[in-house]
């Protein structure tokens, strides 16, 4: 659609209606806030941030945390895709190596020995969540991260897992195992 540009009259070219309307709007808000004590935060949330914490909506991209599956096992398999894709290089994964501990769930090969996210570097882009083949890392609702030192802001595996909680997604390797079992059973159960 093409919007017709109306020719401006003299007053409009002198910005008079614009200034008048601008003053009207700003004065209305100024008056309401100063004399009636109404604010946007007060009207919508009932208070201001530290006293009345802000409830973020669904799908908010806050701090990335690791999640466990329904059985309480680590979902991350240390594939290092998130480390690779992370634009600010905030993630550092130490894989278990050849003689490291095996994964704490059946059928998964490995889990990270150490998984660190530097929250000072993280830009909350969500690429790690996007790229994760295991659905093991999610941007969750935490928006207020603070610490008293830089070292404190590097979250390690235990902390990330503790903060992440359990995730009720599909259990990829359990499903693979079930499929394999179903193939091994002969004759096939179906038909």
């Amino acid at each position: 659609m093409i919007v017709e540009r109306k020719p401006l009259n003299l007053a409009e070219r002198l910005y008079i209606p614009a200034v008048a309307n601008g003053f009207k709007v700003t004065w209305r808000h100024f008056k309401r806030t100063l004399f009636e004590g109404r604010t946007a935060a007060g009207d919508t949330a009932g208070g201001f941030h530290p006293e009345v914490p802000w409830r973020v909506g669904e799908g908010y991209r806050g701090a990335p945390y690791l999640v466990r599956d329904q059985d309480g096992a680590t979902k991350c398999v240390s594939c290092q895709l998130c480390e690779f894709v992370c634009p600010p290089k905030a993630i550092r994964i130490t894989p278990p190596g050849p003689d490291g501990a095996p994964a704490d769930r059946r059928n998964a090969e490995k889990m990270p020995r150490e998984f660190e996210i530097n929250m000072l570097r993280c830009i909350f882009c969500g690429y790690c969540q996007e790229v994760c083949p295991e659905e093991a890392i999610f941007l969750q609702r935490d928006y207020s991260l603070s610490g008293t030192s830089r070292a404190e802001m590097i979250y390690d595996k235990e902390k990330l897992l503790a903060l992440g909680g359990a995730h009720a997604g599909l259990r990829k390797w359990k499903q693979k195992e079930d499929e394999a079992r179903a193939q091994e059973a002969f004759p096939p159960a179906a038909s």
């Binding site: 200034v19 003053f23 700003t26 808000h29 100024f30 806030t33 604010t39 946007a40 009207d43 201001f48």
Partner: protein
Amino acid sequence: MDWQFLAFSLAKILVVFAVVMTMVAYAVLVERKVSAFIQDRVGPNRANPFFARYIPYLGMKLVRWGIFQPMADALKAILKEDYTPAHVRKVYFWIAPALAMVPALLTLAVIPFGSQLGAQKMVIADLDVGVLYTFGIVSLGVYGIVLAGYAANSKYPFLGGIRSSAQMISYEIAMGLSVIPVFLLVGSLNLSDVIGAQSGSLLAWHVFKQPVAFFVFLVAAFAETNRLPFDLPEAETELVGGYHTEYSSMKFALFFLGEYAAMISVSAMMVTLFFGGWTLPFLGLDQPAQSLWVGLLHILIFFLKLCVLLVGIIWVRWMLPRFRYDQLMDLGWRRFIPVALANIVVTAGVLAMMHR
């Protein structure tokens, strides 16, 4: 050169400097509060120093009004890391903030901020070419910004510096031309004489005698102080931070304070030129003070007028959107300069007719 003169001048300079710096700090607070109220927020209300709770009754109210916020801001600016990026031109990088700050303060030297206390005239330097001095110093203000843009040696500050120099030169012309009718009426460049010419009645104020001149001066003042709607040199949405993108800590604070000091000096100029300076047209307040109390009252009147104009300038920032650069240049060169010139011709013509 007698010592009494030196001592009194020094005292006046110190007092004016202290008052202006305090005003700058609180102008920042007013800016934040006004913007907050206009945008349905409350603004700074949590700076709560340890001694606030010992102030009876008022303490917590002052905290809620953010009265202690400037202290916290100053402390923060001083304690922050003063970071100098590796790619800057060091010498210019260091002198630019000072060059941005100093002219704004120097301008105040010729502003009469009161009639007299005792035998002392309440102006630091009662120059016969007062207004030319002011314009001269104001025109030097552009160096701070241009050099900051050049010194930073990166593209956004550079664009900001270039924009700023073009803008300030353009509007300096409109500003200079706009006040000429005022001086045609007064017949002197001395700012004390300008105030003297505006005593008597409210209609003697130049804002009523020369509304066109006032309007052009006001708009040019916005452009000269890089305030919205003409803050293109630092337009955050386009140029990150404009000329002060690469600055941090106290150097950044100097630019910030320089902007507010420039606002104050330009408001002081407007009060002097158009709003009758320290005079009020009732109760005989338009004559130089005979007693100490009246002298102080004059200073208070000047201060209040100044504050009203300052709040006005601050309000405009939150009221009008930024102009586009070509609109700005078009407005300056093709609207205001012809209007100011026409105003000069008309005023001179009318004066010539009247004096025949």
